[in-house]
Structures are given as structure tokens and as C-alpha cells.
Subunit: 328 residues, 2 copies
């Protein structure tokens, strides 16, 4: 077991090297992704629905646990199922945590200072180091001890629109706990250009200016790996720009969404990595979760997810090797 | 009872005229705000804690219900208390809704299209028109029917950093239900300048560019009041800029935070209003919630909140009258 108090940047780097994988699996459950057996269970009523969603998420996490360094549950897809959904979110985070996966909570929070501090309390409290012990507790003792926690999380995604004082309260609590962050710089969606690509009077774009802020926020947390614990989200759907963001944030871990269902390929993401192949992880959600559809193996949806994760690993390793960047 | 299917912009305008108030009370509970009786209850253990938080929030909502058109619970402060906190959030929203207050859910969501749709489902489903009936149901029937709902909400705050496709899924579901939105344009916090005030190559700032997007997003929902249902958040802490934002968004309802504890005064916010005095509401949170401290009336914290809300109403009415804008 690694020392959980290590900086997040080092823990991410280590997990990537141990698993020989730069892939992250996004856990974004919807009814449309459920294989037939779980889908019919979900139609039986609310209990069946919540059980099916939970079984699917936990099933995907355990299926890929030995293949990838991290999972990224997006809390939106759980909040869509209300309070029960958020309970499932917590249990998915805990399951992933207990299998040794890093848990990146995709919550995209951003609010003014005093409010950000409240979010940080709920999302970052009960640091991972304590959860080793907590995982051994009874349900009741667990509820009493970490009932307030929305996680556990090793890292969170944050929205930068409100500037430093919306980010600092998270850093103040999280960095000490060995937790990290991925701040939205350039997102993978088509309309990201409307705000993020606005050109500035003094040159560059809004996203490039945010990149400089992220680089500054991370400067005090650069670990032995050379990576900081304040990362950046930069979409795979903008391959031409990835190199520029890497230049602006040389020590920043990148979380790269948009691979797979959103259209980004392995060749599109190599520029996100540092020259030694470190410094980035690539997320895929739908292409892993619904791999059983493409494979035509509805009764082996976990196997299909495993195969898709392995294919993604090979795909990314090959692209990095071809670019002379595979050093793991 | 007003027809809940009316556009949100019209409902907001009507509520302001009925209450003769442009004040919104932010429900942002923290332990430090609890009056002594509730604070000692909160120290008795988790049950006491959750009861104290709930009693405080519900007590504030009922204390100001006949004085203001809307309340704005910020979900961050509830998420800080974990799953129990989120249950309290729901019950505060329902209580406010049942007293006839408009409920502005301060959730500041922003994510890519497919994810935004998931958020919208959880945050906007079970539209207000149904909740009239639902409020009469037993707890069990209620759980079954609206267990999935994170609300009820009449309006939500949204973050614009990801552009149109992060906002549209909310509009698609909400506008039909008579629900509205307040998109962050220029926030009240000190570091808002870091991203929002960046100057653009073609003139103006990032926030002004976002203001134009917000104006466009609202164009199809302008109601009989002349107000759209897609509003903007513009902070009271930037009085010199409010007029400019009003020019850029002539038909947009403004939600103006930063009055009171954050330093904005009534004279600072008049430029946010249209010439006839319509089109804006001003939020105060801490100055209402902790009015008992200033008044030295810990045993009458509800009365202190009432008095603070009435003083805020007078203060704002007077400033608007002096500017020749009070037409209610």
C-alpha cells in the first residue's frame, strides 16, 4: 500500500507506472447503457432501478480495477437519480477506493470563497489515509464516521470561471491530504470555443490564460515525479492545441476527456503527454461502459468492458511509442 | 395561486410586484450562523446537528416568506453535511415552495451536453405544477413520486464556461416547465476579474461576451413582462459595470449577489434595474441569517431575520426611488 499522504501528482504517476496504463474509466451510468438483464431489473420499480444502476457501476469498476490507474465517476449521472443516486455515487467511490484505484470525482465545482470552502468540506473531508481504517468498520460505525463525506475522492474537477478564490479553499484542504485537482482549461464539447477560445487583447485565448493560472496554482505542489497536484482538463477533441497547453503547463497532470465516443483517437492525445510519456491520463466513458453493445456480448458486459479497457491501453501505448514517448 | 406554467420571467416579475420587494434571501447554513440554542443542540451529536440545521433553515424561510419574492438555497452548504445535508436541502426547497416563495437553486452547474442533460433531469424534473398535488401526498407516496428530484426548483444558477451546449439541455427541460435560469456573468468575489475581466481582442471583456450569449439564450423566452426566463448573475460589488451589463442584456432578469456581508450597498445595485424598476432581484445571505448577532437578540433570531429583510426592502426601495426607478 502506498503512503496515502504522498502528493496526488506522485500518486497518479506511480499508479500509471504500476498499471502500465494511462487510461481512466469514466463511470457515467444511464439507463440506455444497462445490459438487458439489468435493464429489465431496472424496469421493475425503484428498488430494482437503484440496484441495477449500482450493480452496473460496481461491476464496471471491479472489471477494470487491475487494468487502469483511476476511475472518474461523474456525479451528474448519479444526481439524476436523486438521493438514492448520490448514495450509489458514494458506494461506487468507496468500492473503487478499496480496490486501490484512484478516484477522480467529476463534480466541476466553482463558487465564491466561503461557498467553495463548504463544498471542499463535503467533498474532501475524511482524507484517504483514514479510509483505510474506515473501510473495515461496520455500516453503522461507517455512517457515524463518514456519513458527511461525499466521496472518498483522490481528486476533483473544478471550474475556473470565478478565479483563484474559488479554487484556493479546495487546495487548502485537499493538498495536505494528498488529494489533487483537475481544473477545466479546454473542454471537449463542441461549444467550448464560445468562451474558452475568445482571443485576448494581449494575445492568446481565455483557455490559455486559465492555463497560466493553473500552472501558478500548482507551483507549490510539485512532487518527486515532477508533477504538481493541480491538474488541467484538456479535451482530446482539440489535438492541434494540446501541445500549446503542455508548453504553458509543463508540470501539470492533464486529464484528457473526449477519447472514444466523443471522437478523439489515440494519435490525437499524444501531445498532451510530456516527452518521457508521463503527465497525462486519458478518459473514456461510454466506449467502455457500452462495449457489450459493440461486441454483441450483452451477457458478458464486464468482459466486454475489460476487453475495451485493454484495447484502449494498447491503443494509447502504441500511439505513445510511435511518438517516442512511452517510457513506462 | 398563479399558473405555474407561466414563464419564469413573468412569475418573478409578478412575485416582486406582489411582495413589493426585490430582495432574495440566500439560505447558506453554517454552524457559525446558528443561534445559541440551536448551536448547543448541534453539538449533541449527528441527529441534533441535522435537526438544528434543518430547523434554522426552515425557520428563516418561514420568517421571511411574506416579505420577499424568492429564496436562494446554495446546495454547497448542504452538501457540506453530506447525504443528510442534501435531504435538508430538499426539505428547505419544498417548504419554501409550499409557502409560495420562488425557489432559486444555487447549484452553479456546468458540464458537456450529455452530462448537462443528466443534471437537468435531477434538478428540474417533477415540474412545480405537479408539486402542488405532490405536497399533499403521504411521505411514502412522496418518496415514490419525487424521490429522484433534487429540488423543487423554480430556477437554477448555471456556469457558462463550457458554452451553449452546457446550457441548452437545461433550457430544453426547464423552459417548458416555467422554470428559469441565472447564468454566471460577473460574480461578486474579488478574484472574479482573473477570468471574467480579461480584455478581448475585438473589444470588451469575457464577461461582456458571456452577457451577449446569455441575451441570445433568453430571446425565445421573453414573456408578457418583457423579461426572459434566462437571467444573469451580476455582482453588487461591481457598481460601475452594472449599467453596461444592463445595456447588453436589456430583457434579462438579473440576480445580484454581494449586497450586505460582501460589501455592496443599495445605491450600488440600482443600475442593475431597468428604468421602470423591474428586471432585477438582490440577494443577501449572511446579513439576514446572522441578523440576531447584530441585533443582540439570539432568542429572537427569526424576528431579527424578519427585521433585517424589512430593512433591506426599505433600503432597496429608497435607493430605487431616489434613482427614479421605483414603479412597483
Amino acid at each position: 500500500m502506498t503512503n496515502q499522504k504522498q502528493p496526488f501528482g506522485d500518486r497518479l504517476d506511480q499508479a500509471v507506472r504500476e498499471k502500465r496504463s494511462v487510461a481512466v474509466v469514466g463511470i457515467d451510468p444511464t439507463l440506455a447503457l444497462l445490459p438487458p438483464d439489468l435493464a429489465s431489473q431496472a424496469r421493475e420499480g425503484t428498488t430494482g432501478l437503484y440496484t441495477a444502476i449500482s450493480d452496473f457501476c460496481v461491476g464496471i469498476v471491479t472489471a477494470v480495477a487491475d487494468l487502469v490507474p483511476a476511475v472518474k465517476p461523474n456525479i451528474a449521472f448519479f444526481e439524476a437519480f436523486g438521493m438514492h443516486g448520490l448514495s450509489i455515487y458514494k458506494s461506487v467511490c468507496l468500492t473503487a477506493y478499496n480496490t486501490g484505484l484512484l478516484v477522480i470525482g467529476d463534480v466541476k465545482r466553482g463558487d465564491i470563497g466561503s461557498t467553495a470552502a463548504a463544498y471542499a468540506e463535503g467533498l474532501l473531508s475524511a482524507p484517504p489515509v483514514d479510509l483505510q481504517e474506515i473501510a473495515t468498520l461496520s455500516t453503522e460505525a461507517f455512517q457515524e464516521k463518514v456519513g458527511v463525506l461525499m466521496g472518498p475522492h483522490d481528486a476533483l474537477t473544478l471550474n475556473p470561471y470565478l478565479g483563484s478564490d474559488s479554487v484556493k479553499p479546495f487546495l487548502d484542504i485537499g493538498l495536505e491530504n494528498g488529494q489533487g485537482f483537475f481544473v477545466l482549461v479546454k473542454t471537449s464539447n463542441p461549444s467550448s470555443a464560445e468562451v474558452q477560445d475568445l482571443r485576448l487583447e494581449n494575445g492568446g485565448t481565455v483557455a490559455e490564460s486559465v492555463a497560466r493560472l493553473v500552472n501558478d496554482w500548482g507551483k507549490t505542489s510539485i512532487g518527486e515525479s515532477g508533477l504538481s497536484s493541480v491538474g488541467a482538463v484538456v479535451g482530446a477533441t482539440h489535438p492541434a492545441e494540446l501541445g500549446r497547453y503542455r508548453e504553458l503547463m509543463p508540470d501539470t497532470p492533464f486529464l484528457v476527456p473526449g477519447y472514444g465516443a466523443q471522437g478523439g483517437g489515440a494519435a490525437d492525445v499524444v501531445a498532451a503527454f510530456r516527452s518521457d510519456g508521463s503527465g497525462a491520463v486519458v478518459n473514456a466513458s461510454r466506449s467502455i461502459l457500452q462495449a457489450w453493445k459493440k461486441d454483441g456480448t450483452p451477457d458478458d458486459w464486464q468482459g466486454a468492458a475489460r476487453r475495451a479497457a485493454m484495447a484502449m491501453n494498447s491503443d494509447l501505448r502504441e500511439a505513445l511509442q510511435q511518438a517516442g514517448k512511452w517510457g513506462l
